[in-house]
Subunit: 443 residues, 2 copies
């Protein structure tokens, strides 16, 4: 290793030392997820989170400016009382662990009753058609594949029934849908998540726990089962919210922006600790660490906490629109939105025209990241930074270990107690190291 | 990728599919750690574990022979009642969270009382000498360094005070020692672990939790503190125990042994889930998976559950002695003894004469292991397989993610509930894949 490379390696070691030793991202995350709690876009809690994170960012000396960027977001309300899903067969009744999916309509008083028809994903639905589905409660029971080593692949394969199940069943006249929770675990937590009606008539759309899905499926083998559903969710008028942005102006290449970010909104249940409080505090920690080390960046480093990733992407779209209008160029955007687990590496993507040279340059960083067991691979990015693709910079997703993510994702268990502080801090150190390397070497 | 390589890659995918889908290592681990529980070498529980794992191995069709290999082990007894460590200052008393270190002597009735003298590791002890230490209770308070990314490095740096603290303090006439627990966490769990008197006069040697260590250290800044220690631990006469061994005889190279193993004994507190029930069930799962896939190995594959790794290495030494006496050759020995966390890769070592070519051959496996984000690096092995080094085969340690290991290590929290089943199964899949590759290609 050359003298110069040794100096870079030494700086990266100092990034890790600071992050693990004096990093404060655990303190910020505990406040976001335990004190503020679930913070659905448009909610009071989400505004508290906006003001809290802006205050933290403003308190860091190195930050030149910190501002709020307005964006319009949908406002969905789960309603004043807990969802009821009760199944009935042979004179018996069982209450299921249920949670309305995001953007779901409510049944209102009196609820909805119907026979339960199980389907194994969207395709099966087409085979049944209106004759079999009209007035029924469609139960989407396609399980996440436990043999996929990377759990996000299994999620990607199974989640279409959660997102589009209600819209598709509605077109055949179904009265409501129940959806198996998105996890490979067998447990009692229902997992919420976004669902989209598109141009379909809204019908109630409710997640049930995997244990309950298995129980229901077993019953359906030998019984006719009816379900009673009652919930009071509703979509209200859109409201204004904000992205939180802080910037350190670059000394020699101020027009090349390196963005680090996560999304500040979460679902209303739990504390949004892994999804995506972790990504927000990772990003703040990048700034905090660079400040503590007295680093003066060559390029502009911008920390962005996006609003409304979960049910609309209002923040990500508003950010890209404003950035494009201002003629900005994001050389790189790094999003952390896969939890506060031990980082395994980074995955990146870009416009086809510029991707290969970027990736090659990025791989020249391997020698600095290998001591920390971090890979650099193709194939990633993030929902909030996706709209920046047209600027032809590199879009990068932090890839933490994914094994435990769907233990907590979109449930009441996504709280600070389920975050390991060392693992969280390592994610911040990994992001800071990559920001440093891109700032030093370009792409 | 050649047709042949594609077939190897396909077989490895089927190893992962079986391990994650139908692997049973979680069932075995739950039995070992919850039903049998802590299983110190020589104890009744350790013999239950011997018979249980032998029964599991015998039930797997592919196993040609399964046998018990006798070994002599020390028998240490914590005593009939909980350790007491009570500190006293200014008329106040505080009970600390305490746990005698392995092999420690007891105080017996009446306990031991003495002034507490804090030292920052073994070197500081020398500076004080007999004048300052005679009759005192020496408090070793060197903390594990949180900035070490790999927690085993921090453990390696700080653990000498636990292993040798009592022996060294005893030479200066100290009455007893208290030792800060080996974890970077601030919590209330005392962590036990081996300590060795050598030729020193035995004195009681007790771990206290990190929170209590910090409290005691703070008090010592402004107060004279006395401690009262009472415990009833004792070393009994050595007893006979066993390594559990199962073998699949190789079809074309039966004299080249590939060993997979872990250690069956654990400390008496907790359930020895991560340390090292995980390594035992990883190793059984290797055999179970190869059986399920109908694999016929070319080389001899041997699964060994070693006894007495924690406080004597009786099993590992007996195994190597018998193996050498029989003129055996272990081409490779893979030990899992770092917990049931997501595997990051493998680290290996060997006699200097043969190491470089082995490592080069091993790295030709990268293309098969890279899709599973597994590295192959120099610098590992395992305590139980270490004595096989003279056979000039390759010694390999599974390297799981280490961030959470010292949350549980040697405490009552090392139970099955703190193991993530997917992470556990991935460790088994990684080991099985490496066994397959070595069996197919040699080294």
């Amino acid at each position: 290793m050359s003298q110069q490379d040794a100096e870079h390696a030494f700086f990266i070691k100092s990034i890790y030392d600071h992050s693990l030793g004096e990093g404060e991202c655990d303190t910020w995350l505990q406040y976001l997820s335990d004190t503020i709690g679930g913070r659905l876009a448009g909610s009071e809690a989400s505004l508290e989170a906006v003001h809290y994170t802006q205050k933290v960012l403003k308190s860091i000396d190195i930050v030149d400016t910190a501002w709020l960027q307005p964006c319009e977001v949908p406002l969905w309300d789960r309603g004043p009382q807990k969802e009821i899903v009760r199944i009935q067969y042979d004179g018996q009744q069982i209450e299921l662990n249920a949670l309305a999916l995001g953007n779901s309509e409510g049944t209102g008083e009196g609820g909805v009753t119907g026979q339960v028809i199980e389907v194994n994903g969207l395709d099966t639905l087409e085979l049944l058609g209106e004759a079999e589905l009209k007035g029924k409660i469609v139960f989407f029971n396609r399980a996440m594949d436990p043999t996929k080593v990377r759990t996000f692949h299994a999620y990607g394969e199974a989640v279409d029934q959660r997102v589009y199940g209600a819209a598709r069943a509605s077109k055949y006249g179904a009265a409501a849908v129940l959806v198996r929770s998105m996890t490979t675990n067998k447990d009692d937590f229902p997992h919420t998540g976004v669902q989209l009606y598109g141009d379909s008539e809204p019908i109630p759309s409710i997640a049930i726990s995997t244990n309950d899905a298995d129980r229901l499926s077993t019953l359906l083998n030998s019984h006719t089962v009816e379900a009673y559903i009652e919930n009071y969710a509703q979509m209200l008028e859109p409201v204004q919210s904000y992205n939180v942005i802080a910037e350190i102006r670059g000394s020699t290449h101020p027009d090349e922006i390196i963005l680090v970010g996560g999304h500040l909104d979460s679902w209303d249940v739990g504390g949004g600790a892994h999804d995506d409080g972790a990504g927000c505090v990772h990003s703040i920690q990048v700034i905090h660490t660079l400040n503590a080390l007295g680093y003066k960046p060559k390029r502009t480093i911008r920390c962005v906490m996006f609003m409304n990733e979960e049910n609309g992407l209002g923040g990500g779209l508003a950010y890209a629109e404003a950035s494009n209008a201002a003629g900005e160029f994001h050389l790189a955007a790094i999003e952390s939105d896969a939890g506060g687990f031990t980082p395994r590496g980074f995955a990146c993507s870009a416009d086809a025209e510029v991707f290969k040279p970027y990736l090659a340059n990025l791989q020249s960083f391997d020698k600095f990241l290998d001591p920390y067991d971090l890979f650099l691979k193709a194939g990633g990015g993030g929902a909030d930074i996706g709209p920046l693709k047209s600027q032809k910079g590199l879009l990068i997703g932090l890839r933490p270990d994914s094994q435990r993510y769907f233990d907590f994702h979109h449930t009441e268990a996504d709280v600070f107690a389920n975050v390991n502080v060392r693992e969280l801090k390592l994610g911040a150190a990994a992001m800071t190291s990559l920001v440093y390397l891109i700032d030093q070497f370009g792409l």
